[in-house]
């Protein structure tokens, strides 16, 4: 499969009065053409920082001591600010989290949607407005023709997020980064936005990086999932592998804390994430991990291969590690998955695994 984006050994620090916060610690991942990669993790795990580095929108107090972000044979970390401006909003664009604050309150929405066209395509104003109207229609703004002169405050939250999406896709970007695009919305609107994004992905043939802390959302949209914890990716694989055959105790914890029809009581991972001013030398999750071994406090686990597409950074996968029993909920998922795989192998209609 063709890689459209390849992030290698990325490290990002933020300079603060207290010292350097190591927000991203040696992160590598790639995005295949046409797929949706979900990056999952709790607040502060480094999801947003990672994608902002791809957009070239890191805060001024950041520095990137190491790493590469390869897009079309160029390293986005090396190119000039002007070159990056040409890529932003054109080849790579972004959907933001809060539609209530992401639109300029003093500019009509049509103009805001047309802006990327005017910057990148040197289109005439009239033509750009025509395109803006089409795209607004495409993202589901009813009666777009008569509404392009309206201002953001005249739209509901869901509609505003559709407008934010319209701005992001107006140039048919090759990569669309969505930073928690549904977090600020009602649950009913959330599913509409997810549906819209899936629809648009087919129509404009884009690859999506989808950031979220909501695993329920991931299941509905992602092809592959990367799980982040304390500035590192700790496990990645296809969506089925992560949901039904997870290997890292943190992923177990995340899945376990998601309510299902069977769950009697809601699980919460004990403790809090480490302070990234002084990251631990071993596995950052060890202090919260009931399966932690002595080595977890001493050395950072490398990635162990589970399948060709599935890797997890936990010492539990080391051949010498004792076999542990994952939580009951994970075992139940595992069982479902194997039943599903078996049925698929038989060539039968796949059962609904969930």
């Amino acid at each position: 499969m063709e890689k459209i984006l390849d992030v290698k050994d990325l490290e990002i620090n933020f300079h603060t009065f207290a010292g350097d916060v190591k927000a991203i610690r040696d992160v590598s991942f790639h995005l295949n053409k046409g797929e949706t990669l979900a990056i999952v993790g709790e607040s502060g795990s480094g999801k947003s920082v990672t994608v902002r580095s791809i957009m070239g929108l890191l805060a001024n107090n950041s520095n990137v001591p190491n790493g590469q972000i390869m897009f079309k044979d160029q390293d986005l970390l090396k190119i000039s600010a002007r070159q990056m401006e040409k890529i932003r909003g054109n080849d790579i664009s972004m959907i933001f989290q809060d539609p209530m604050t992401s639109l300029d309150p003093t500019m009509p929405i049509g103009k805001q949607v047309a802006e990327p066209l005017l910057i990148h395509n040197h289109m005439s104003r009239a033509k750009a407005m025509e395109r803006a109207e089409e795209v607004l229609e495409l993202v589901g703004i009813p009666n777009a023709k008569n509404r392009i002169k309206d201002y953001p405050h005249q739209f509901s939250g869901g509609q505003r997020q559709r407008i934010v999406i319209a701005i992001a896709i107006v140039n048919y970007p090759e990569i669309l980064i969505a930073d928690e695009p549904t977090t600020a919305l009602d649950v009913t609107i959330q599913s509409q936005i997810i549906e819209l994004m899936k629809e648009l992905q087919d129509k404009i043939e884009t690859s999506i990086i989808f950031i979220t802390h909501d695993l329920g959302v991931v299941a509905g949209i992602a092809d592959r999932v990367a799980v982040m914890y304390a500035g590192k990716i700790i496990e990645y694989g296809t969506v089925d592998e992560i949901f039904y055959d997870p290997r890292h105790p943190y992923t177990w914890g995340l899945l376990n804390s998601m309510p299902t029809l069977e769950s009697q009581k809601l699980y919460a991972i004990p403790g809090t994430p480490p302070n990234l001013l002084n990251p631990p030398k071993g596995d950052a999750f060890a202090p919260r991990n009931e399966y932690a071994m002595a080595i977890d406090y001493e050395a950072m686990p490398p990635f162990f291969k589970v399948t060709d597409t599935h890797y997890a950074a936990t010492w539990l996968l080391h051949p010498d590690a004792p076999k542990v029993q994952p939580p009951a909920e994970i075992l139940r998922r595992h069982e479902l998955y194997h039943k599903y795989l078996a049925e698929q192998a038989k060539g039968g209609v796949p059962a609904d695994a969930e």
Binding site: L57, R88, G89, F96, D104, M107, H120
Partner: protein, 311 residues
């Protein structure tokens, strides 16, 4: 919109009438009479003059006469300034004050907005520090000090401008600059604060994500949003500037209105006090109307609807 403006104009007249009434009665409470300091006048002379100016009639009659005169555009006759009609006195002297004030206003707000915006964009760099320093200097040094400094260097030493003379545009430049320093500093500080706020907002990040350069982002998105609160301080500032500054007018020998206002109060020159108070109130009310219309132009969320009220 038109209906809203007409309604506001009607209110301006009502407000002016209230201001005139309150000022009229308050003024009579001022200590002394127009003849204080005029020890040479005999009781008879004072009686004759009181008769002539109608000052011995009951207060309510005086008020009635004044309001009727006001409606006809007659502001009465000044006691102090050579028996000139107040309308004549004002119209003769308001021009230079207004001109200097307006020029100071334009210099102050434009440069202030520019300086504040640059400081915000370059926040926490030396540019920001320099801008902040100038703002503090501009705010804390009185304008007559600036006036004298400007006179010394630009007029006396370099002879670019006249020192103290009222003759055409070139003579209005130095006083305008001197008067503009404080509003410039205020606008710059205010603008910087607003802009720093706006620059950290989500829609600015979105604008950057579209591929706009940082200066394009400022010009197209940040500036307008930062201006909304700045417009608020521009209203009262404009009135303070337009109504003349006695000190600046004195230093530059400008035949403005500032001096008359101060003198008229000191000498209980009732018609002049009344006339100028009404004039200043009218200026304030008109500027507030302009500011409200400006708000609507800048911020669509408070745009005035055609039905007369606000949305």
């Amino acid at each position: 919109m038109t209906k809203y403006i007409l309604k506001r104009i009607a209110w301006i007249f009502i407000t002016l009438w209230i201001v005139a009434t309150i000022t009229f009665f308050l003024m009579k409470l001022l200590p002394g009479t127009p003849y204080t300091n005029q020890a040479k006048l005999s009781a008879d002379q004072i009686r004759i003059m009181n008769d002539q100016y109608g000052l011995n009639k009951p207060l309510i009659t005086q008020y009635w006469v004044y309001i009727v005169g006001l409606l006809h555009g007659d502001l009465g006759t000044s006691f102090q300034f050579n028996n000139q009609p107040v309308t004549y006195l004002i119209s003769n002297r308001i021009g230079p004050s207004m001109q200097i004030g307006a020029q100071a206003m334009i210099i102050g707000t434009f440069l202030g907005i520019l300086l504040g915006a640059i400081a915000a964009v370059k926040q926490r760099t030396w540019v920001d520090s320099v801008a902040t320093f100038f703002a503090i200097v501009g705010r804390s040094i009185p304008n007559f000090v600036f006036a004298v400094i400007l006179q010394f260097f630009l007029a006396f030493k370099l002879k670019i401008f006249p020192i103290a003379l009222w003759d055409g545009f070139s003579s209005s430049i130095l006083p305008s600059i001197a008067l503009a320093m404080a509003p410039l500093a205020d606008t710059a500080r205010f603008m910087r604060t607003e802009m720093v706020d706006v620059l950290s907002s989500d829609y600015i990040e979105l604008a950057r994500s579209k591929g706009l350069s940082s200066w394009q982002t400022v010009a197209k998105h940040a500036l307008r949003n930062s201006l909304i609160p700045v417009v608020t301080i521009i209203g009262p500032m404009a009135v303070a500037l337009m109504t003349g500054s006695m000190v600046i007018e004195n230093i530059f020998s400008i035949p403005g209105i500032g001096e008359q206002f101060v003198k008229s109060i000191l000498t209980n020159d009732y018609p002049t006090i009344m006339g100028l108070t009404i004039l200043y109130s009218a200026a304030l009310l008109v500027i507030y109307l302009v500011v409200d219309i400006l708000y609507g132009i800048i911020d669509p969320r408070i745009r005035l609807s055609t039905t007369g009220g606000k949305e």
